[in-house]
Symmetry: C2
Subunit: 415 residues, 2 copies
């Protein structure tokens, strides 16, 4: 198993102004090719701290991936620190300047002294041209180990990893262990009850296969992870364990897809040539945004209404005013009319509707914070259910989104 | 300055299945009370790796905050590892069992063997009762240093930090340095040009005040950070530097609020008693979801339409079909009609509308990927502008949201 460490650099990560989404994405991609992330470290733009992190990581891992701190501004010192760590100096690189010029011409920004300085690169490294930004990617080899410095801007980092770094890592470490994941989306269980139910199964797992619980908002995602040098053998063992789990959990498994629910639905709706619309009250646009984050979603996603006010529910979605008055906006009658209203105005085959008390305020004894009505509709079917989620707004929004997607997934599957 | 390290524990963080949002939030809160996060480390559910991380962090920092790995399931081993590290053992704690019973009775889940085991706690620590979940919070003191273990579930962690840990840390380290931040939202500059323009300002800054560039999607966020023992003196010096920056950047400063743009608008619209609606094509619900994530937004946010299909633009928002046909959905005429349409159907004072080519596909020579039209409207005013953002879908969506919010912010401010 090739051991990898990720180092993210930047004061903004240590004072809480920026959330590091890079390292999770990187870890996921590395796992797919059988590389194992063992530590992630975040340090500020401070030379000594960066050097310490380099030293520690390089002593433990075979691959050290570094993001951030290579922008054109003065607070970015990663490049100089790399020179110090690898005992080298910066030299001017014409090829890098050409790439920088190409990148900024695409954005019609003028070349200036600072962007020109981006073409200075450490002497004893392989420079990988960054087609997405002005900061060059640098690849160092020492004692059979690799350190790569890349930009912290997420889409630049993703491009660099996919196009350049991962293929090069695979070429550099041709034999590596296999890692296999198998996910299960499970409904109807609180985490601790599921764990008791699966205790014996877990105890009987072979040493190199692990079971993990990933409580996602509204559902539990189980994951079997197997590691081993013999890929075929591992495949077979994973298949055996999967069979056992399927027999234990039966219909409570909503999906075995390793993707998040929006991606599972994305594929399903595309495959079946169906169309979707949403009507959102408590989820407030989050549900639509999950689908529209996926490239190509316009093939099936026709649109949505965020009907936050009662007037919007009536005027746009055609919800009956007297039902709102009598039963309240958070009610079965209203959420069902929202789902049907969305179907009608967007002319879609499927719809999801949400109406609930997201919190932290707005709860009543009858409808406490966390009460959410969800309706899904597909062809001639309409289903609505009431849930009591948590006291936390963020969690309630996510759970309502996931639960709505799960209900639609089951409805479309069952047809 | 009290040095803090954050350790997040969990395999799910190392295989990319979960993004760590906790540590950024914790860092922000710690900064406010003058504590300085120097390192963040993420390790998997592996005893030796956790012990190594404890050792390293405890040797460098005065405070080590640990999240995760204390759930009821077998993969969670933090509690046992803490016992090993502090050379102690688990004992049964009646008070903790009481809390666990209270917590699960609130959620109507049955007490079972696994949740009962949560009441076993390390012997030589202070147990802090967790009112939000079943995993107790444990506080260790050794050689004048502190280690606290808390849940990784975001809302449990936030409750623990705000209610218990931060007050106790302040009591334990009564004298600590002051940290002050001052943010500036700057428009009209690419990062490198702004850096050249501010180079002299930056060079003249006193040693203990730093300038950082936080390129947010669509705008640049500058941040001055000052640290010092003498709070009053620091205040004065920060005010001086702020004055200098205001003189240099003048009208290009959109806001000095340290919040993200949706929170700035949230406050402004509430203060002025205005109402908002949105009409989203390329941002696909993201803009609505930014507002609806904020508790109490229903005071001004009336709703939105995600008009992904042309039919939705026409039928719901009243966009002229011939304008879509002649000029395309990504055009000035269409985005302006979307903004006015949203105003009309939601009966709001303000609106934001977006229509663009988010990518990665769908670009043409005239309208390449990244082309986004944005319109904002407020009272009798309507403004629309065309932007060329990036080639990346995620970035285009965020930049369109931020730019739309910035344009509305300026329009409402200028009234």
């Amino acid at each position: 198993m090739i051991k990898v460490e990720i180092i993210t650099i930047g004061d903004e990560l240590l004072i809480g102004q920026v959330i590091d989404t890079n390292s999770a994405w990187m870890a996921g991609e590395l796992n797919k090719i059988g590389f194992d992330v063992q530590y992630k470290t975040t340090v500020g733009d401070n030379e000594q701290d960066i050097l310490d992190a380099f030293e520690k990581a390089f002593s433990r891992a075979s691959v050290v991936l570094v993001t951030g701190g290579i922008g054109p501004t003065k607070d970015d010192i990663t490049k100089h620190t790399l020179c110090k760590f690898f005992n080298t100096r910066l030299i001017f690189d014409e090829k890098t300047l050409e790439t920088v010029m190409e990148v900024i011409s695409g954005y019609k920004k003028a070349l200036n002294e600072l962007t020109r300085n981006q073409a200075y690169v450490p002497e004893n490294c392989t420079v990988i041209q960054n087609k997405m930004g002005t900061a060059p990617i640098t690849w160092f080899e020492k004692n059979g180990k690799i350190l790569v410095s890349m930009p912290g801007v997420p889409y630049e980092m993703k491009w660099a990893m996919n196009q350049e770094i991962i293929p090069r890592l695979q070429a550099f470490f041709p034999i590596s262990d296999s890692i296999q994941h198998q996910s299960f989306w499970v409904k109807n269980y609180p985490e601790s009850l599921l764990a008791i139910y699966l205790e014996m199964f877990e105890n009987e797992l072979p040493e190199h296969i692990k079971l993990a619980y990933l409580p996602t908002s509204g559902l539990i995602r189980l994951r079997l992870t197997g590691k081993g040098a013999d890929k075929e053998n591992l495949c077979q063992q994973m298949a055996e364990q999967r069979k056992k789990l399927l027999a234990l959990l039966k219909d409570d498994i909503v999906s075995e897809d390793d993707n998040v629910l929006e991606n599972i639905l994305d594929k399903l709706l595309k495959d079946k040539g169906l169309t979707l619309s949403v009507a959102e009250s408590c989820t407030g646009g989050k549900l639509a945004s999950l689908f529209t984050a996926i490239p190509g979603c316009s093939q099936y996603f026709l649109g949505g209404v965020v009907s936050y006010s009662n007037e919007a529910k009536q005027n746009i979605l055609g919800v009956n005013a007297s039902d709102i008055e009598k039963q309240g906006a958070v009610s079965q009658a209203v959420v069902e009319q929202m789902a049907l209203g969305a179907r009608k105005i967007f002319n879609s085959n499927c719809s999801i509707a949400t109406s609930g008390v997201a919190g932290p305020d707005g709860g009543t004894p009858e409808k406490p914070v966390g009460t959410v009505w969800i309706a899904v509709s597909f062809k001639d079917r309409l289903l609505s259910r009431k849930f009591l989620f948590s006291k936390n707004r963020e969690s309630n929004i996510l759970r309502a989104c996931n639960t709505g997607m799960m209900l639609l997934l089951e409805m479309v599957h069952s047809k």
